[in-house]
């Protein structure tokens, strides 16, 4: 593999920091053309580049191919050798973006963009969180013109989009729970109404209202929990379909739907709660009437 500086490791994802901002957009937009795979070792070795794996799939590029790349559609192009393919990371903020990403050695990109000896940002590794605070404070106090941010703060800022989606999903969830509650109450009411003669007989042979209510509540809870168990299975299956569909649509390893223990516990607890509530309301309604009236007399 021709290279005058270390090539990108052939495995992916690429280990160099992802290019961002102005030059990422410019480069992403400016792949001018693909030259046929040509041995480039005769003269000066060509610089290497790592391409988006989606571009490999779409354009049929292979390792070792030579491509021409420019900073702008009408700018001068440079030839580079494809040394690696990088898979898309599971980054929610990029999931709906269709453009390809490429990764260059810093010096190559600076030359391509006529960017001089400049960078957009530095990433700094600190020993611990205490050191992070000290470093951030130190840089912001001394290095005028620079601004240091904690990764955590940046994540919060870039995660605003997903906070909105979370709120949206939560609102949809509340509406769904409301619909489920009404549905369950309706079903329980129907079931109890259907068995009013049975309830009347139980009351007439001496069972207390409390016992009847308890029996109905237990039955309602059992139905709700059974429904929740079936729903969990169905939810898990739908989750698999959703993930497969969206991962294929957006060509990303991002997991869109995750059935966790917490989610299952919440669903079962909610169902059981709704079952108890619906059963109790339905039972109270039926035991409130005299047994003979329930028998239609």
């Amino acid at each position: 593999m021709p290279a005058h500086r270390p090539a990108f490791p052939p495995s992916s994802p690429c280990r160099r920091p992802a290019p961002r901002g102005r030059w990422r957009a410019a480069i992403g937009a400016a792949l001018l053309g693909l030259a046929a795979a040509a041995p480039a070792a005769a003269q000066a070795p060509l610089p290497t580049i790592a391409l988006d794996a989606r571009l490999r799939d779409d354009a049929g590029i292979r390792l070792g191919d030579t491509i021409a790349i420019a900073a702008t559609p009408d700018g001068p192009a440079r030839r580079m050798v494809v040394a690696a393919f990088a898979r898309r990371t599971a980054d929610p903020s990029e999931v709906a973006r269709a453009e390809y990403k490429v990764r260059l050695h810093l010096a190559d990109l600076q030359a391509l963009l006529a960017y001089g000896d400049r960078v957009d940002r530095f990433a700094v590794v600190t020993r611990d969180s205490g050191a992070t605070d000290r470093v951030v404070a130190g840089i912001n106090a001394r290095a005028f013109g620079f601004r240091a941010h904690r990764s955590r703060d940046i994540a919060v800022e870039t995660g605003r989009t997903f906070a909105v989606i979370n709120r949206f999903h939560r609102a949809i969830g509340v509406i769904t729970i409301l619909a489920s509650a009404i549905f369950l109450l309706c079903i329980m009411l129907l079931r109890v109404e259907e068995r009013r003669r049975e309830v009347a007989t139980l009351r007439l042979i001496g069972l207390s209202r409390r016992t009847v209510v308890r029996a109905i509540v237990v039955e309602a809870t059992a139905i709700a929990v059974l429904g929740a168990a079936l729903g969990t299975g169905l939810g898990w299956a739908v989750s698999q379909v959703v993930n497969r569909y969206y991962q294929g649509l957006y060509r990303t390893p991002l997991v869109f739907s995750l059935v966790t223990g917490e989610v299952v516990a919440l669903a079962v607890a909610l169902s059981a709660g709704l079952g108890v509530g619906a059963g109790w309301l339905a039972a109270r309604r039926v035991v409130g009437r005299p047994p003979l009236a329930l028998l239609g007399r």
Partner: protein, 394 residues
């Protein structure tokens, strides 16, 4: 008569009917919301693009307008060539960049648009006038971020030079107007200035460059045909009609369309199940009554019609209630999604159209009718004598 019987039958079990109507209303509200969501953003985006009557967009080859920071050079010749094309009435070039203004110990970054005031389609003036050389129009968010008002002067530079420890190309500009920017987030600080002013920044790196251009067509011109001609004449740019841009945006919001389809289907299924369950139980309870009706000579068809009418009445009542509920929840959900950072103020996810209400109601009515058919058909076909005997024994 059949409708009256159906209503009387429903009125006999008020609590049950009320719960069923409430359940159908919630399902119907969700269905309406999802129908609105599936088409709302597309409609809203199309309206946004058509706001100023520009039907075609030009952007650097391989990019969408303002989707990247790419620019295209030799802009004056490019714009002139576009204006010379048949069917083109107006071409509005623009350049996007970031500028910084010192404020206190730090700096405020604002998005800057270079436009030609006479033809620009990026903002509407809310106050003041358009900017001449050395002046700018600012968004309310920019005024707040800069701490300035109309009539004030603000110094804007292109960045910070750490070696000189000074802002690069810092120059005073007078704020002469307040604008409402269509394509940028309401909370985003934006200023618009003459195109030539912005092109003169960045040490000449932006000279004669633009980020995109909008094209308004002459009356009667066909956007697709003009777009093809522009693409052939201007090989350095990508040409998008409004329809193309909407299709591109559609791809990006596929998630919401799919979600709308899934949740809409679930809502419909819930409504269907609710009516089916209710009608099945209701028919089971009235088996004897139905057998008596049949013994008296009422046709099976009439029995089916009466039970279907009950299901239909439930669906229509729940559906109508759900329409109102759906509009309220749509507004609430739209307000949540409206918090997306950088979302243009005119973009809405849930847009009500009478057709959407018709679709939701139509689907519910069909589901309600289908839900009533099976139990009623089963009841109408029961052997009359055997059923009467069983009921009498019971």
């Amino acid at each position: 008569m059949r409708v009256a019987l159906a209503v009387a039958s429903l009125a006999r079990h008020r609590t049950r009917t009320a719960l069923a109507v409430a359940g159908i209303a919630v399902a119907s509200a969700m269905l309406l919301d999802m129908v609105m969501l599936s088409s709302g953003m597309r409609l809203s985006f199309r309206e946004l693009l058509d706001t100023r009557g520009y039907q075609v967009r030009l952007s650097p080859k391989g990019t969408l307008p303002f989707d990247t920071e790419a620019t295209v050079g030799d802009a004056a010749a490019l714009v002139a060539a576009a204006r010379a094309q048949p069917g083109v009435a107006v071409v509005a070039p623009n350049l996007g960049a970031q500028l910084v203004a010192p404020r206190g110990d730090g700096a405020v970054t604002v998005a800057a648009l270079g436009v030609e005031a006479g033809v620009q389609g990026d903002y509407a003036l809310r106050e003041g006038r358009d900017a001449a050389a050395g002046e700018l129009v600012a968004s309310p968010a920019a005024l707040a971020a800069l701490g300035r008002r109309v009539g004030d002067t603000v110094s804007l530079g292109t960045g910070w030079d750490p070696q000189l420890r000074a802002f690069r190309e810092l120059a005073p500009r007078r704020i002469v107007g307040v604008g409402r920017f269509y394509f940028l987030g309401a909370d985003q600080p934006v200023v618009a200035m003459p195109l030539a002013d912005l092109q003169a920044t960045a040490d000449g790196a932006r000279r004669d460059r633009i980020s995109s251009a909008m094209v308004r067509l002459a009356p009667g011109a066909e956007p697709a045909a003009v777009a093809r001609a522009l693409a052939a004449a201007l090989p350095r740019v990508s040409v998008l009609t409004t329809a193309d841009a909407v299709a591109q945006a559609d791809e990006r919001v596929a998630y919401f369309r799919n979600l709308a389809f899934i949740l809409g289907s679930v809502s419909l299924a819930v409504g269907f199940l609710l009516v089916t369950t209710l009608m099945t139980v209701s028919v089971n309870e009235r088996i004897g009554e139905i057998a008596v009706q049949r013994a008296l000579g009422v046709q099976a068809r009439r029995i089916v019609q009466q039970v279907v009418a009950e299901g239909l009445a439930l669906s229509v009542a729940g559906g109508l209630l759900g329409l109102g509920l759906g509009l309220v929840t749509a507004r609430y959900l739209d307000a949540i999604l409206g918090d997306f950072p950088g979302l243009p103020p005119d973009i809405a996810f849930f847009v009500f159209q009478p057709r959407d209400a018709g679709t939701a109601m139509g689907l519910l009515v069909v589901a309600g009718t289908l839900a009533g058919i099976l139990p009623s058909w089963r009841a109408a076909r029961l052997p009359i004598a055997a059923t009467l005997r069983e009921e009498a024994v019971a």
